[in-house]
Amino acid sequence: MRARTRTARRAVVLAAVASLGAGLLAGCADDGGDDKASDGSSSGGGKGKTTITLGLFGTFGFKEAGLYAEYEKLHPDIKIAENVTERNENYYPALVNHLTTNSGLQDIQAVEVGNIAEVVATQASKLEDLSKTAGVKKDDWLDWKWAQGTTKDNQTIALGTDVGPMAICYRKDLFQQAGLPTDRAAVAKLWTGDWNKFVSVGEQYKKKAPKGTTFMDSPGGLINAILSSEKEKFYDASGEVIYKKNPAVKAAFDLTAKAATEGLVGAQTQFQPAWDTTIANTKFAAMACPPWMLGYIKGKSKPDAAGKWDVAVAPKSGNWGGSFLSVPKSGKHVKEAAALAAWLTAPAQQAKLFSVQGSFPSAPGTYTEAAVTSAKNEMTGDAPIGTIFAEAAKSSPVQVIGPKDQIIQQGLTDNGVILVTKGKSAAEAWTTATKTIDNNLDK
């Protein structure tokens, strides 16, 4: 008995030592992999290759669209590896932390539009000016997209990838059952130019709504859509926080609260498992949707949903989402990384990314290209998504974005309008939201 326990103990110790050793070895391999691909098994030996790493969040689709493979073919000495964090809320604090300590950075780091103002204002000294990289032309980008990644002293530290021109995706079958038109031009006409009209359509929908469904998916989705189409939302052009006194924000909040009180929106928070379930089970009829959302819908839907969605022009054009690529100065392969970032964001690649992944180009030159104009999506059938979204992209306001946009927006949604669906009054929700936001903004 004793002998057995002793062997058992020894086995445990051995296992522990072995796993520690393996961890150490793995760590070494990671570090060593920077200059020389450590796995000799990969085809071509990989000797002498430079590995460029990308730090991304969510789904960028570079890999899925085959862009890495294409670039590696064009540049046989380059190897590309990506390191993806699922949610930007987790990715961004880590990025800031890494930038301020100049450690743990990837060669290329993505930045979300909600954070770009803060990065440009506070981290520019740590990032490479990409405007001078070969192949980068300012005119390729939408003016406002280029401006968002550029500092006051004219350093472009981040190149735009996609933008999120917003439209409304709706279920044709549910609209029909509720007695609403289903043709996308007729649908768009119901609410042209005014979000109030959009909510009134919701009221109409509710009268004959198919059982168990709401008009829209979530209060967060609605307030976000309304705010995205405003020129000024949380900051004014001089950089002052104005969200509380901006009538547009209060109006958006109240309209969303009204829709929530009347039960026109579901009680979910976007991008949560319960919300995903409402997509799969068709629990709502319409949602604000930028092109990348089509991919999301496809991912969460049951197979029989294909072709049942359609896309109509939103009441007012706006932009929701979109990202940038930046190159930290402290990287080991700054030059190669800059070249890769420039290539990945060049119009040709953006167009390809749209046709494969649905990320809409921030390069307006592509909007007339066949890859964009003829794009179709499985979920929306024959809807000409390319032209609808291109129109929205061109008519979107040049929005003033501020460093803490994300925190303010999150407060209005997660600590604000969502409360109305839990039975709080709009006024109570506004108080909780503003109190939370003010506390979070207070340095």
Partner: protein, 336 residues
Amino acid sequence: MATRHTTAAPPVKEGGAAPGRPPAAPTEAEQRRRNRLSRRWQRDMRWSPYAFVSPFFLLFLAFGLFPLIYTGWASLHQVEMTAPTDMTWVGMRNYTRIFDDDFFWNAARNTLTIGIISTVPQLLMAMGLAHILNYKLRASTFYRVAMLAPYATSIAAASLVFVLLFGRDYGMINWALHFVGIDAVDWQNDKWPSQIAVSSIVIWRWTGYNALIYLAAMQAIPQDLYESAALDGASRWRQFLHVTLPSLRPTILFTVVVSTIGASQVFGEPLLFDANKGASGGAEHQFQTLGLYLYEQGWVNQHLGRASAIAWTMFLILIVVGIVNYVISRRLRASS
């Protein structure tokens, strides 16, 4: 019998009566060498132990003391994570504002209530389980290992499962409640249900751990105490009350102290329980604990100065709790 030192012969001085070593005077070089060796030996004797214990202190300096002091320093400044070296002196402002920071006190209250509704049932259940396991059982090792399994599970994995169980619309607990005629409870958004849900994760994780500690202590209680109690006609329950519990008193105190410290630092469970995956502890901060609030200020809002002040305030609160614990335990010991 020892000689009294006053009557004993005094020790001989060098070069005294006893024939010492031949006085062959060392050469100067030899003498220097000897001195050097001797000095080196002395230095070795004096300093080597310090060198041997130094790794701990160096690590403590780097990862314990320095962060502590740096946090204290940062708490007197306005400093943002986007530029940690860019500090503006604000004196005690970060501390004074805590007094009228509703969110801080809300978090403090939540920490207290979550601490109570997780620690008290947890320790009671642990005691009961330990008592049962202390009987002769078949496959007792299996039960002991099984009890420790939750403790070995990662908080993240456990919390994600609990989130699914406590889901409002599709959760298993509401589904089960529905069968006994109870309406769906909104475990996420109502204050007490959400706190109970968070506590249940804590309870699930730590009960087995505490039970094993109790079990170890129970097995150290001499068997003859039970035998004599049985001879005196004490029932099982009386034996538990009058033999087991008094003998476990130091162990109970230990688990109470450890659980209190653990409860004041609850962080992972409420963070992962939040459907928004934010750090605000629910839409109305209904289950935001101090640890979570600290994290929200420092890492989400990037206010390092404020976060540092919260950290230090928590530290001071813990010291107070520790002192209270100490006083109570001394009282109890004195009374026994």
